[in-house]
């Protein structure tokens, strides 16, 4: 019953070893108090892929991210990242922009350098090599010119880029992004998707939680449709069927098949 499309895909593949996956999530059950937020979540993501995590509010997207990051212990189930069970420090993360304190007196370079803090170790100071890695990460997201700016002086698109640079400076090969498109205008969103594609071509695996179905269906390699369970995962064209979307979003969403595109509204 749970994750129909999901288990179908896994079974059909020739029993892959865990190291084949950038992210392998198995039978995760997690929640808060008596509330079950994730009820047997299972899916996999291939390395170097641009993957979307889509679901309605309250579907458990943020909980799933916390579990994958090791910020929250699941009640049962396993997460493995590139075949290893150690997720702390291995997975990069960019939080929702609203959760970041943009008034904090730090510069763009300071934030990128924070990506090195976990590797530097307690008490020790980041060295020249760490600064070079932070600067290289800023260059990859084209923010090196603004490295001395205060983070409070950035535009919405620039804010996202700095947070991504921090994950790159960490040397994380899997990066989780929580609602990076929220509040962005069309041009900035387009630029951000171009950056995602560039990074995935360079071998990074990106796992992006978003409300934006059309952008995932047009530009992403992979989609996970979540509503406490995985409704479906795989290629966006296979995942975003009318049946799956109606099951995931239930009455929060009306699906209008319109030619090549699927229009959705709440």
């Amino acid at each position: 019953m749970k994750s129909r499309v999901a288990s179908g895909v896994v079974m059909a593949a020739e029993a892959p070893t865990t190291t084949d996956w950038a992210l392998d999530v198995r039978e995760i059950v997690a929640g808060y108090g008596a509330h079950t937020a994730l009820d047997g979540v299972t899916f996999t993501i291939e390395p170097g892929c641009l993957a979307g995590l889509v679901g309605p509010n309250g579907s458990g997207k943020s909980t799933l991210m916390k579990v994958v990051l090791g910020l929250m212990n699941p009640w049962s189930g396993d997460v493995s990242v590139f075949g290893g069970s150690q997720v702390r420090g291995v997975v990069g993360y960019t939080p929702q922009v609203e959760l970041v304190d943009w008034a904090f007196p730090v510069t763009v370079a300071d934030v990128a350098l924070m990506g090195r803090y976990g590797a530097v170790g307690l008490v020790r100071r980041p060295g020249r090599r760490d600064r070079e890695m932070a600067m290289a990460a800023l260059e990859r997201v084209r923010m090196a010119d603004l490295s001395k700016r205060l983070i409070g002086e950035l535009s919405g698109g620039q804010q996202r880029r700095v947070l991504i640079a921090r994950a790159l400076a960490q040397n994380a090969d899997l990066i989780l992004l929580d609602e990076p498109f929220a509040g962005l205008d069309a041009t900035s969103q387009h630029d951000l998707i171009a950056l995602f594609k560039q990074l995935s071509e360079e071998g990074k695996t990106l796992f992006v939680a978003t409300h934006d179905l059309s952008c995932v269906s047009e530009d992403f390699d992979h989609a996970v449709l979540l509503n406490r369970k995985v409704v479906a995962f795989g290629r966006p064209a296979d995942v975003f069927t009318e049946t799956n979307l109606n099951e995931a979003f239930q009455r929060h969403l009306m699906v209008l098949p319109g030619g090549a595109r699927t229009f959705v509204g709440s």
Binding site: P105, T107, Y117
Partner: protein, 284 residues
């Protein structure tokens, strides 16, 4: 000319004024540094609560004949721990937990005080501050504790910065975020204990947040903000003691009001972030 020189040098010809200056400068420097984290993390209420809570410990230590500093420190640390224990369960909000605990601890102090026959002078000094009454022993203790607090901030600067700025990401990077956050409360508790004698529990929060808030108006980076906050705190102590000497008013209140006046000046006149600068931008 000589009158002017006298005006500035006269107070320091008395040893109790020298002790007062040394103690209050040390306390306000330490409070400025810790206060920077306090205001950036929105912890002003905790900054007010821990000094009040530590008064409970001071009173108990006084009644038992123990060290007042140790009593205050223990009470502040226990309160900080309990705030974490109660707030983490999620049913009671953190600010509610803080409110319940600090009032309870402060009331304990008043209760214990009311059982003592000879309490007034000694214990009231901790409530309202008695910087002119500090002994050389107090000065050495203040210097020692202050040096430890500053050393820990320098050692763990990177961890304190990351945890204050983005605790979720800091935890995901493998930093011991819970330990760092409790460590910051412990540093706050130590600052509180040395500040009690200078300005008293009621006014400690002013030394924590007012110089740091002034520094925020004037600076662009955390490390510079900490240094400037420390400098403004030291300046407030100096100005406050002059005012107290020449006008013959309460020293602790004068120190706090000097800090308030410097904040008011910065709030109006600061480049870029001051009220005048911003309103002139609006009119353009």
């Amino acid at each position: 000319m000589e009158a002017v020189a006298d005006f500035f040098s006269e107070p320091w010809s008395f040893e109790f004024m020298q002790r007062a200056l040394i103690a209050s400068v040390i306390v306000s420097v330490v409070a400025g540094v810790i206060g920077t984290f306090v205001i950036l993390k929105g912890m002003a209420f905790v900054g007010d609560a821990l000094p009040h809570a530590s008064f409970g410990g001071v009173a108990i230590a006084f009644a038992l004949g123990g060290s007042l500093y140790v009593g205050g420190a223990v009470a502040a640390l226990v309160t900080a721990l309990l705030i974490g224990v109660i707030g983490r369960r999620g049913v009671i909000r953190y600010d509610t937990a803080i409110g319940i605990l600090f009032v309870g601890a402060f009331a304990t102090g008043i209760l214990v005080m009311s059982t003592q026959d000879n309490y007034t002078a000694d214990l009231f000094a901790f409530v309202f501050g008695n910087v002119l009454g500090v002994s050389w022993d107090d000065v050495w203790l203040t210097a020692g504790v202050g040096a430890i607090v500053l050393l820990l901030v320098v050692l763990f600067y990177k961890e304190l910065l990351f945890t204050a700025y983005d605790p979720a990401m800091a935890a995901a990077s493998g930093l011991p975020v819970d330990a760092v956050q409790f460590g910051l409360l412990a540093l706050l508790a130590m600052t509180t204990v040395i500040a009690m004698q200078t300005v008293g529990v009621v006014l400690v929060v002013a030394l924590l947040i007012t110089p740091a808030a002034t520094a925020q108006l004037l600076t662009r980076s955390l490390s510079v903000m900490m240094v400037v906050a420390a400098g403004i705190g030291a300046l407030s102590s100096l100005v406050g003691l002059y005012v107290a000497w020449h006008a013959d008013v309460s020293a602790s209140a004068s120190i706090v009001l000097a800090a308030t006046a410097i904040f008011a000046l910065a709030f109006v006149l600061a480049p870029q972030r001051g009220a005048l600068w911003q309103s002139s931008l609006m009119r353009r």
